[in-house]
Symmetry: C2
Subunit: 235 residues, 2 copies
């Protein structure tokens, strides 16, 4: 993994990633040395109870969680995934209304180090490197959300789909995790489109031999052709 100085020296610009992972791994030992509670979650457990404001911050030792918002009209918007070596939620002090609708659920069994806000605050103020990483984390999160709200929002549902498949399955961040294993329901909930409409987009890509679909699984068999469809912002 690149360290901070190497990053700074590089010229390329980051595209968004839906999956957060490894970014806090350098602090693994540090976190272990500080006051915390080790916890485990089973698949489908909530990392905190719905309607409870963020109270605890987790460093994920293993497993993956999904973060989504439950809309009052019943829609569900999946925002991001958080896997091994990252921290979720991001450290912050102010509570927001929308956090009451934010739900984080374990997609697999998980092992985490749990910190109270106060415990994390103490670490934040004593560890300069951690401060830098928290800022990096926020900037990555903002980047993802900007991409969604200012870019994807204006794309047709087919273009949205191609972009997402590229970001999940082709670009670097996605390859490491197995998001090939994802239901079409979930993809629809990331894109904010209906499952029916999503299927039509997948049918088109399948007919053009760009992807192969199985139950719970999508494989890109022609990444180059997929890229041709993607928006410039995505590549």
């Amino acid at each position: 993994m690149l360290n901070r100085q190497q990053w700074k020296g590089m010229i390329f610009l980051l595209t968004p990633s839906y999956i957060f992972t490894q970014d806090f791994e350098p602090f693994h030992a540090y976190f272990l040395s500080k006051p915390h509670v080790r916890r485990t979650f089973q698949t489908d457990d909530f990392l905190w109870q719905p309607n409870e404001p963020f109270g605890r911050i987790h460093f994920i030792l293993s497993g993956i969680a999904q973060n989504y918002v439950e809309h009052e009209n019943g829609h569900r918007k999946i925002v991001s995934f958080h896997a091994t070596g990252t921290v979720f939620p991001g450290y912050h002090e102010i509570d927001y209304k929308i956090e009451s609708s934010l739900i984080t659920v374990a997609l697999s069994n998980m092992e985490v180090l749990e910190f109270t806000k106060a415990e994390f605050r103490t670490m934040f103020y004593e560890n300069t490197e951690l401060q830098a990483q928290v800022i990096d984390w926020f900037s990555k999160y903002v980047n993802l959300l900007l991409y969604e709200t200012a870019h994807q929002e204006y794309n047709s549902s087919f273009l949205k789909l191609c972009n997402l498949l590229y970001l999940l399955l082709v670009s670097e961040a996605g390859k490491q995790t197995c998001v090939g294993c994802i239901t079409q329901d979930a993809i629809a909930d990331i894109l904010g489109t209906s499952r029916v409409n999503l299927t039509r987009g997948l049918a088109r890509l399948r007919s053009e031999n760009i992807i192969h679909t199985e139950r719970r699984k999508i494989t890109v068999i022609n990444p180059t052709a997929l890229m041709e469809y993607c928006s410039l912002e995505t590549l």
Copy 2:
């Protein structure tokens, strides 16, 4: 203005605000005491050149700027407004692709203190209170973007409009600034809807005596009735 401790003690949850202002005002004197360049912008000036990555960070002494993303298909998405007493862009180190499409333009004459990233970094690491405020700023920005991407996205264009009018013109943050002076073009670009469709929404609210429209200006004359239309997430 509330200080940090007072905020922490309060139970209410913050709704999103499109206008950032005053949050860094406590650091006014501190900023002045540190290395910076004082600059002025005229209405319609760019705070940095398009296609240039974020290099400078501004503390706004007076005036207001609009931040938007130019989509490759020609659409324009207005993300946020930044006025007196705030810092923009938020301090961060990594450069993202989408920043090349992010444009910040002065809506009025502006006076700012301009810092290089390095200058701001130095302040960030030496000033604990500033660290806290930068984190608060990011959390507010994330809150706004989450609201847009996970809530407004699923609302009809009429509901989106009611929510926006409420947040801009009725809720606390909006009252202080004069966003009553806004073109319908701009509102359409915030909502991601067409100007024509927006007009129809405004026509409905006008016919129900909830708002009054003039050239470049919208006044809410029946806030209670407007609130009735708003989504729960907004109130």
